[in-house]
Symmetry: C2
Subunit: 479 residues, 2 copies
C-alpha cells in the first residue's frame, strides 16, 4: 500500500503521463472538477495535486483557464546571472550607430525574414481600427486641424489625460508640467540636452536600449555603463562606486520598469533609494518609463517620479509600446528643467502637430483604452511564455534566460560564450532576424546575449523559427 498522501499519489500518476507524452506540452490538465469525479477525491486533494505539479514546474496556471502542461525544460532553465557590483569601466564616447543601423537595415533588406529584432507588439495587438475611427472624428470635428499651428507644449486634451493617467503610476503632475514630444526618443534627447553638454558623462544601465546609446553618440556625450541586474535593475552599489571613482557624472538615465533589454523591474525600495541618492548627490535623474503599463500586474508599475519631491527626476514616456507604435507620441515632465526643455523643444521641432494628440486623447478617455491595455498585457504574457518555453525546449543546454514579468522581449544568454553577432549572420541566412547583444552596450560585453522579440502572436511558424534558430546555435557551438 502506498504510504504517500493521496495528492502525491495522484501527482505522480500525472507526472508519468506527462513524461510519457500522454499529456503533451501545452495541453490542458484535467480540471479540478474532472479530477474529483474521475478519482473520487475531495476538492482539497484535487487542488493540492495540481499545485504540487505546478511547484515541480510541470504545470502552469493560466488565469480563468486552468492548468496546462509546461513545455519541457523551461522549469530547468537557469536565469541570467546577476552582475557583480564593481567599479564600472571609465566613461567612453559612444560609437554604436553604424553597428546598430547595419543590423536593422540587414533585416529590412531580407523581406521574408521573421522579425525577432524589434521591441514593439505586432500591429494586430493594437486597436488600430478604433484609433482610425477617433482620427476620422477629429478630422470631422476640429476646424483648426492642418490650417493652424498646434497649441504650445502639446494639445490640452492630450496633456490632461496624460496627467490623469500618470496618477496610476503614482505620479502627480499638472498638465502644464507636461510637454508632448515626438516619442520617448525626442523626450530623452531634450532631457539630456537640458542637463548636459557634449563631452559630459552620463551613467546608463548596462546593457541598455540601443536608442539611448545612439542619442548619447549623436550628442557627443560619454556613456558610463553601470552593471544592471536582470531582476532588480541598475545596481545602486555600482552606481555609488562609480560616483566615488569618477566625480563628473552629469545625469543618470534609468528604465526602472521592464528595462530594455533585460526586462528587470526595480523594487520600490530601490526606486526610492535611487531617487533620494541622486537628489543628495545633485545628479539629475532621467527615467524612461515606456513599458511601465505592460507588466503582468493589474496596475501600472510605479515610476521613479513617484518618489521625487525636489523636481530632480525628469520623467520621459510614450504611447509607442502601449497604444500605437506608428504615432510617434511621447512626453516629458522635466521637473526643475521644465523651462529649458520647453525652449529646447520649441527650437528643435516646434509643438507636435495636433491630429495624433486629439486622436489618442479621445481614445484614452474611453473605457476601451483600459480594456485594450488589459488584453495587450494578457497577450504579451502569453507570447512571452510561449517564446520562453520554445527557447527552453529547443536551445542547447547551458542557455540562460530571464523571463520578465512584463514587456515585449526576452534576454537570452548563449552557452559557451557563443557570439551573438555570428549567430545574427547565420540566423539571417535562415530567414530569422534577431537583435544580437552587441546592440546593447558600447563594449562587446554582451556579445553572447541576444534579445528576442515576443511581440508577435504565437504561431507554428514562430515555433519553427525558434527551432531553426536553436539548431543554428547548436551548429555554431559544435563548429
Amino acid at each position: 500500500m502506498d504510504t504517500q498522501p493521496l495528492y502525491r499519489q495522484l501527482a505522480s500518476h500525472y507526472l508519468h503521463a506527462i513524461e510519457a507524452g500522454t499529456l503533451a506540452p501545452g495541453e490542458r490538465m484535467p480540471s479540478v472538477r474532472a479530477l474529483m469525479a474521475r478519482h473520487d477525491v475531495s476538492l482539497s486533494t484535487a487542488l493540492q495535486t495540481c499545485r504540487h505539479l505546478e511547484n515541480q514546474g510541470l504545470l502552469e496556471a493560466r488565469p480563468r483557464s486552468g492548468y496546462f502542461v509546461r513545455m519541457p525544460g523551461r522549469h530547468a532553465l537557469a536565469a541570467v546571472e546577476e552582475p557583480v557590483p564593481t567599479v564600472p569601466d571609465p566613461a567612453q564616447y559612444v560609437g554604436i550607430h553604424e553597428r546598430v543601423s547595419a543590423i536593422i537595415a540587414r533585416g529590412r533588406q531580407s523581406p521574408g525574414a521573421i522579425n525577432l529584432c524589434g521591441a514593439s507588439g505586432a500591429p494586430s495587438l493594437y486597436p488600430v481600427e478604433a484609433l482610425k475611427t477617433a482620427a476620422m472624428r477629429a478630422l470631422r470635428n476640429d476646424p483648426e486641424l492642418f490650417g493652424a499651428q498646434a497649441p504650445p507644449n502639446g494639445h490640452p486634451a492630450f496633456r490632461s489625460i496624460l496627467a490623469k493617467r500618470a496618477l496610476a503610476a503614482r505620479i502627480n503632475v499638472h498638465q502644464d508640467e507636461i510637454i508632448v514630444t515626438y516619442g520617448c526618443v525626442e523626450a530623452l534627447n531634450l532631457a539630456l540636452r537640458a542637463v548636459a553638454q557634449p563631452g559630459d558623462v552620463i551613467a546608463v544601465e548596462s546593457p541598455t536600449f540601443f536608442g539611448l546609446l545612439q542619442i548619447l553618440e549623436s550628442l557627443g556625450m560619454r556613456a558610463l555603463e553601470i552593471p544592471t541586474s536582470p531582476q532588480t535593475g541598475i545596481s545602486l552599489e555600482a552606481l555609488e562606486l562609480a560616483v566615488q571613482t569618477y566625480d563628473n557624472i552629469k545625469a543618470v538615465v534609468v528604465v526602472p520598469n521592464l528595462q530594455n533589454p533585460l526586462g528587470s523591474i526595480m523594487p520600490d525600495a530601490n526606486k526610492e533609494n535611487l531617487v533620494h541618492w541622486c537628489e543628495a548627490q545633485g545628479i539629475p535623474l532621467i527615467e524612461d518609463d515606456t513599458y511601465g503599463a505592460l507588466s503582468n500586474a493589474d496596475t501600472p508599475l510605479a515610476a521613479l517620479k513617484a518618489w521625487d519631491h525636489s523636481d530632480n527626476v525628469i520623467h520621459c514616456a510614450s504611447i509607442n509600446k502601449v497604444l500605437a507604435p506608428g504615432m510617434r507620441l511621447g512626453w516629458i515632465a522635466a521637473g526643475k528643467w521644465h523651462a529649458r526643455v520647453e525652449m529646447l523643444k520649441y527650437a528643435q521641432s516646434r509643438p507636435n502637430e495636433a491630429l495624433a494628440q486629439i486622436t489618442v486623447a479621445d481614445y484614452m478617455a474611453s473605457p476601451a483604452f483600459d480594456r485594450h491595455v488589459r488584453r495587450l498585457r494578457g497577450n504579451l504574457r502569453e507570447q512571452r511564455e510561449r517564446m520562453a518555453e520554445a527557447v527552453a525546449a529547443y536551445f542547447p543546454v547551458g542557455t540562460r534566460l530571464s523571463v520578465p514579468a512584463g514587456g515585449v522581449c526576452l534576454w537570452i544568454e548563449l552557452p559557451g560564450k557563443l557570439s551573438s553577432e555570428a549567430l545574427f549572420n547565420a540566423a539571417l541566412v535562415e530567414g530569422i532576424h534577431i537583435a544580437p547583444g552587441v546592440m546593447f552596450s558600447n563594449s562587446r560585453r554582451f556579445d553572447h546575449f541576444l534579445r528576442v522579440s515576443c511581440g508577435m502572436p504565437w504561431s507554428r511558424e514562430l515555433d519553427h523559427a525558434i527551432r531553426r534558430l536553436a539548431a543554428v546555435v547548436s551548429r555554431l557551438l559544435g563548429a
Copy 2:
C-alpha cells in the same frame, strides 16, 4: 488752347478727380471702353491716359479687372535703406529666446488681439477640407497606419513627390537623398548639428528669422550677423569681409527666396556666386527655402541647391507656409552630410509618422495642388498690396517700407528711430499684436523696424487695426 497731348489733358482731368477725392482710393477707374465713349477719344489715347496715371503712381492695374485708384501715399513711400557692406560685428552667443517667447506669449494671452505677429497665412487660405478628405482616404486605405513604425527617412510616396516638385526650383535630387523632418525647423537643427559644434560660428543674415536665432541659442552656437539687403538678400561683400576678418566660420545659413523678415529675393547671379564662393571656401551652405513657391512669379524661384555641383549645399524646406501650417512636415536634402543627418534624425526623433506624409503626397500629386498654390499666391499678393497701401495711407511721414515680390510679411522701418518694442507694448493695449524688430537680431539693431503679417484676408477690421496702429506710432513719435 491746351498744347498738351490729348492723353495728358485727360490724365490731369482725372488727377484732379483723384486729388479731390471724387475718385476715392481703391475705387475703380472708368474702363478704357468708357473713357473712349465718354471723351470721344481713340483706344490708344484712352490707354495712354491710364498708363500715364499708372506711371505717376496714381492708378494700379489689376489683372483682368482694370485700373484702380491707389491708396494715397503708397507711391511716395521710400524703400527700406540698403545696408552698407562693412565688416560685420564679431560673432556672439545668442540670447533671444526669452525675448521672443515673451512677445509671442503676450499675444496669446490677449485673446481678442489681431494677430499681425505670425508669418503664416490664415487657415482660410489653405485647402484644409481637401487635406482632411485625403487624410480620411489614407485612414481607410492604409492598413499599416498607427500600428507599425513609419518607413525610414520618410514615406516613399511623399519623398517621391518632393523630388518631382523640387525640379521646378531647379533642384535635381533623387528621393533617396531626401529625409523628411518635423518642419523646416527640425531640418535646420539637423543641418547645423551635422556641420558644427557648440561654440562654433555660424554666418546668418541680419535681420533674420527668429526661429534660426533660437536654434543657434539652443545649440550653443554663435551667430555672425551679415548685413542683408531688403532687395537682393545677403551681402556677398560683407560675407567676404567677414571671412577675411574672422577665419572660423563653420556654416552660412541663408533664406535665398523671400527672406524672412525682409522679403528679399537673391538674384540668380548672387545665388550662383554664393554657392561657388562657399564651395571654394570649404564652408557648408545651408539654405532655408520655405517661401520659394510664394513669389508673384508663375514658377517657383530657383533654390541655391540648383547651382550646387559638389553637394556642399544643404537644402531645407517645408510645406508649412505653402500647404498646411498645422502639419509640421519639412524635409532636408543634405548633400555630402546625408549619412550624418540620417543618423541625427534617427537619434533625435525617429522617422516621421506616416499619416501626414501620405495625406500630403496624395494632395500634392493632384492638379488641385497647383490650383491651390496659384490661388494662394494671388491672395497673398492682394493682401500684401492692401496692407502696404494701408501702411502708406495711415503711417506718419518718414515710414519706410519694402514691398516684397512674394511671401507673407512686410518689413517696416519706423520714422524717428522709434522703438518697435515700445510700439509693441502700446499696440497690444489697442488689441494689435505685432512682431517688433528686436525679434530678428541678436543685437537691438532693428528695434525701429517691425514685421507685419499679411496672412489674413483684407477686411474693414484689418484696415481699422492698421489705422489704430499708425495712430499709436504718431502718438509715440509726438511723446
